[in-house]
Amino acid sequence: MLPELQKQFMDGLLRNDTRIETQLDGQIRSSQQQLDIYRNSYQGGLLKAMQAIYPVTQRLLGNKFFEAMCLRYIIQTPCQSFDINQYGESFADFAEQFKPVSELVYLADVIRLEWAWHYAYQTDDTPPQDFTPLLSFSASQLESVHLTLATSMTLLTSLYPVNLIWSTNQSDQNDDQESIELDNDPCFLIIWRNGFDSHIDVVEQDLFQFLKSIQNNLLLGQLQSKNENFEEQLVTCLQRGYFSAYHF
């Protein structure tokens, strides 16, 4: 009886299924009123979480529009984690399909950037491995090495200058900023955290592709054969602390 009751309540709360109403005692207030209190609390809690994760998006859209857009997202996207900080990852995909913002061609990538920033800030610590032994590896040993990117890292590319849009719309920036041209070259961003400090690194395309290849589990030997700047890129990434581990 208890599992069925909980199923009916969740269906009532999230999908407006009315079966739960017959299970509730309506002597003091109606079943609908009782459900509404919990529905308002549920939606309000997730909205508050999204406002904390997406302040730039909220600033770009305005408070009321952002709230309305979030509520549409919340209604169709139940939370599937006990950790409320994990809620909202698919908001960028939702924005891409959400017709009222279709003219804001940069918006989905701004949302992706904000999610990556949030992810970098709150992700668990993974102390990096000591890479010193790699210096004594032979060429043939190095070919079989597989590197792992820092746990907090997200690689993001966009056709639009989303890093400029993000930095220009921080809460401590005033409103009379210069407008940003959207016709710039694509940007290649590395969003990650080093210790307590989160970063958005703007990099060249070839370094971005190098990291992308590592993310796609290519071995160093495979990367070396494809990339004439392999050593320079490898050293740059090691010096910056972009890797958390190596395996061979």
Binding site: Q6, M10, L24, Y38, S41, G45, F82, Y121, Q122
Partner: protein
């Protein structure tokens, strides 16, 4: 069960629920608050500055861990990922108390992030007590369960909320975090006498009390934890202390969090009540 209790710093007096808005103030000013309660779910599995805050505060103050992630009343299996993270945090930071709620928060991998009341039935009591025992065994310690404020009642309930809470504590052999504000809110919303509720509480299992503010919505009270403690809740708290004796008490404030001194003022009011009760008992 009592021989499983981990030796940790004990707490007494009136603590304050520590929120992000006050991190810098507390680190800078080192207030004389005897202990803090943290919402442990905000730290589990998180690193960087978030985890550093927890390290800093655990070194300076006794802490109590307060969570919502156990979802003790849910019909989903207990979340082993959550419990494992909690167990690691307990071993690392040695909190004085560990508490969660007598409620459920989701089902079939959908989470409401709200505290949903149970039906007050034998089946529900056995179910949640069994899960509390599992959690206590896994964590190797007794936990406190908190009574939640509620806005709905199920037709199938065949006992009162107070009877249910007391029964579950007995079945699970766990402790009780008595939230005085939640009793008052539920009593108003469901038209029962809050003092009758107190009369059924198992005194020896009450290890902590909570005080918080509600919002008057007209025909019901909403437990927002976003205001000062209202006069009738202070009155109920005095009644509870008179009935049960002094207990560590927490000032909780989760929404529209004010400056720290406002919470300190609330804590001072509670401390006065505790001190007077101790004087009378002496």
């Amino acid at each position: 069960m009592s021989n499983k209790t981990i030796t940790r710093n004990s707490i007494s007096g009136v603590g304050i629920g520590l929120r992000a808005e006050h991190y810098e103030y507390v680190k800078r000013e080192n207030p004389s608050t005897p202990w803090f309660e943290i919402l442990i779910d905000n730290y589990l599995g998180h690193g960087g500055q978030i985890q550093q805050h927890l390290r800093d505060f655990s070194e300076r103050y006794p802490l109590s861990f307060h969570g919502v992630g156990m979802s003790l009343g849910s019909c989903d299996p207990l979340n082993k990922t959550y419990l494992n993270l909690l167990k690691q945090a307990i071993q690392t930071y040695q909190p004085a108390l560990i508490s969660d709620h007598l409620c459920w928060t989701g089902f079939q991998n959908e989470y409401v992030h709200d505290l949903l009341p149970m039906p007050y039935t034998e089946e529900a009591a056995q179910h949640v007590a069994d899960r509390i025992k599992q959690a206590q065994d896994y964590l190797n310690t007794q936990i406190l369960i908190e009574n939640v404020s509620s806005y709905m009642q199920y037709r199938m309930s065949d006992m009162s909320e107070a009877e249910f809470v007391a029964y579950v504590c007995e079945l699970a052999d766990c402790h009780l975090l008595l939230d005085i504000n939640n009793i008052y809110v539920s009593a108003f919303n469901h038209s029962f006498d809050a003092k009758d509720y107190l009369a059924l509480m198992p005194a020896d299992r009450i290890k902590e009390m909570h005080l918080a503010g509600y919002e008057d919505q007209g025909d019901y009270l909403l437990d927002t934890h976003g205001q000062t403690v209202h006069a009738p809740v202070w009155e109920l708290y005095r009644e509870a202390i008179k009935r049960f004796g002094t207990r560590p008490t927490l000032i909780e404030w989760d929404n529209d969090v004010p400056e720290f001194h406002v919470l300190q003022q609330e804590a001072n009011k509670a401390a006065l009540i505790l001190n007077r009760a101790q004087s009378h008992a002496a």
